[in-house]
Symmetry: D2
Subunit: 191 residues, 4 copies
C-alpha cells in the first residue's frame, strides 16, 4: 500500500477570522511537520501540497505563495518555512475539501497511492472534510495529530475523534508513524 503525505493549507496568510487563534498552534505544528515531510521525502513518499487558491484562479503556485508571504501577513513565517521543494506536488483547491473540484484523485491514481497521511490547517475544517471525502472514496487515512493545527484544543481533539469514529482514520503523532503506522512491506490493495 503506497502512502502520500497531504499538506493542507499550510501555505496560508492566516488572515481569516480566527487566524490569530490558529497562529500559535500552527507555529507549534511547523517543526514536527517539516521534519516529517523531510523524512517522508527520503522514504520516497510523495508530498502533495493541497492549498486554498485564495481567489487566484490562474493555477499558479507562485501567485499563491507570494500572496501568503507578503509583508505583514500573519502566516508569512510559517508559509516560508513550509515552502514546497522541487519534487513536491502542488494542487490548488477552490473549497475546503482537497477532493472537491481538484485533480487530486487522478494524481493519486498516477502515483498508485492508497493511503493518505493528513496534516495541516485546520484540523476541524479542511483536514476533517478532506479526510471524510478520502474515506468516501475508499482511501485509507492517517492523521498526524502534532502536524495539524486548529483554533483550539477542543476543535482539534473533537475533529480527530470524529475521524477515528466515523472515517476509520488512524490518529498518531508524527514520531509514532514511523514505528507503528507504516506497514512492513507493500501490500496489494485496490484503492
Amino acid at each position: 500500500m503506497r502512502d502520500a503525505l497531504l499538506i493542507i493549507d499550510v501555505i496560508n496568510d492566516l488572515e481569516f477570522d480566527g487566524g490569530e487563534k490558529v497562529l500559535p498552534w500552527a507555529r507549534r505544528m511547523a517543526g514536527p511537520l517539516s521534519r516529517f515531510r523531510d523524512r517522508a521525502r527520503r522514504h520516497g513518499i510523495p508530498i502533495i501540497y493541497v492549498n486554498d487558491n485564495f481567489g487566484h484562479w490562474t493555477s499558479n503556485f507562485e501567485d499563491v505563495f507570494r500572496h501568503c508571504t507578503r509583508a505583514g501577513a500573519r502566516g508569512r513565517a510559517i508559509s516560508r518555512r513550509m515552502k514546497p521543494g522541487r519534487g513536491d506536488y502542488f494542487i490548488l483547491k477552490p473549497r475546503h475539501s482537497a477532493f472537491y473540484c481538484t485533480s487530486l484523485v487522478p494524481l493519486l491514481e498516477d502515483l498508485g497511492v492508497h493511503r493518505l497521511i493528513l496534516s495541516g490547517i485546520a484540523t476541524n475544517l479542511c483536514v476533517l472534510f478532506t479526510a471524510h471525502d478520502a474515506h468516501m472514496s475508499d482511501y485509507r487515512t492517517v492523521a498526524l495529530s502534532d502536524c495539524c493545527a486548529a483554533e483550539s484544543d477542543l476543535d482539534h481533539n473533537t475533529a480527530l475523534d470524529q475521524l477515528k469514529r466515523f472515517c476509520g482514520t488512524k490518529v498518531c503523532r508524527a514520531g509514532e508513524f514511523w514505528s507503528n503506522a507504516r506497514p512492513r512491506k507493500a501490500g496489494t490493495g485496490k484503492r
Copy 2:
C-alpha cells in the same frame, strides 16, 4: 445570461499521434480565435484557458507554457500566439474534459456564467467531451466552428454535428456570434 469563452488545449506542443494532421487546422484556427478572444475581452467576457497539464502536476501555468513552446515543438508558434493575457483565467486539466477533476465549475459560479463559448483542440475530443459535460451540468453551449481544429474535416464536422443533435449546442462561425448568438441584453436566472 453571462458568457465565458473556453479555450481548450490551445497551449499545446501538438506532439501527440496525429498532431501533424491537426497542425494545419490549428494554424487556420489561430487567426479567428485570437481575434474572437480579443473582442470578447473588450466585451468583458471572461476568457478561460482550460489546458492539459502535460503531466505537470504542480499547478503551474509557466511550466506548461514553457513545455509547449520549447524549441522544436510542433505547436510552438500557435502556443506563443495564443498566450493568455493578464486578466485571463487558466485551469489545468488532467484528462480530456474541462469539467473532470478541475475547478472549472466553482470558477463559473464565481463568475456567474451560464453559457460557454467553446473553442480549441480537438473538436472531436476535448471540445466534444467538454461540451457534453457542460450539457449534463445544464450549461448552455455555443461552439465556434472556425475556432476549433481537428485531424480532419470529417472528425471536425461529425463532432459538431453530434453537439448539435445531442447537447443542444449552437454551432456558428466566430463572426456570426456577435450578430446572432449574443443575446440582446443580460438575462436573469442561472442554469
Copy 3:
C-alpha cells in the same frame, strides 16, 4: 429562493454501533420532523428523502423500506412513521454525504432549489457532511435542530456549531423556521 426539505437516513434500522444511543433522540425527533414535513408539503416545498442504500444496489426504495422495518429492527417504528408519501422524492446514497455519487444535484436543478432544509440522522455524520457538501456547491442551508438526532447532546451540538461557524448554516427549531427563516417572497436564485 426555493427550498427543499432533505430528510436524511430516517428510514433506518438503527442497527449500527451506537444506534441504541441514537434511538431515544430519533424518537424525540420523529414528532417535530413529521409535523414539519406535513406542513412543508402543504407549502409546496419538495420533500427529498436521501437514504443509505443499506447495501441494496438495486435502486429500489421498497427493498430498503422493507429492510428497515423488518420485525425486530431497532428503527422499525420510526421508519414506519416517517414513510415517504406519494409525491416525495427518494434518493439512495452509497456513502455518508447526500451529494456523493447520487442524483441529488440534477434533481435540485430540475426543481429550481437553492436552499436546503436539513434534518435527520445523525447530526454529526450524514447531516454534517451533507451540509458541508451543500456549502461547497453553493447551496444555502438551514438545519432544524429538533429534527436532527445523534448519539449524544455533545455530538449534536458540536456538529450544529460547526455548521454555523464554517458552512454559513442557519440553525433553528422547526417551529421557528416558519416565522423566521422563511423569506417573505420568492428571491431571484443563486448560483
Copy 4:
C-alpha cells in the same frame, strides 16, 4: 482483472426523436445481448443495468420498468425481453453518462471491477459518453459491437471508431469476447 457488464438504457420506451430509427437495430441487438448476459451471469460477471430514470426521481426500478413496457410503447418488447434478473444490479442515471451523478463508481469498487463491458443504446450517445467517462476514471473498456444500437450504421461505426482511437476501448463482437478479450486468469487490478 474483474469485469462487469454494463447494459445501458436498454429498458427504454424508445419514444424519443429518432427512436423509430433505433428500433430495428435494437431488435437485432436483443438476441446477442441477452445471450451474452446469460453467459456472463454463468461466469459470475456482475450485470449492471444503468438506465435513464425517465424523470422518475424516486429511485424505483419498478416505476421505470412499468413506464417503458406500457401498452403501445415502442420499446415494450425489447424492455420486457431484457428485464433484469434477481441478482442483477440496477442504477438509475439522470443524464447521458452512467458515471454522472450515480452510484456506479462505489458499486464498481465494492465489486472490485476494473474493466467494463459496454452494451446498449445508443452507441453514439450514452454508450460513447459512458465509455469516455470510464476512460477518464481509468477503467478499461470493451464495447460489444453487436450488443449496441444506434440510429444508423454511420452513427454506430463512428462512435466505436472514436472509442478505439481515443479511449483505448477494445471493440469486438459478443462471440469474440469469450475467445479473445477475456484474460486467461485473474490479473492484479489497477487503481
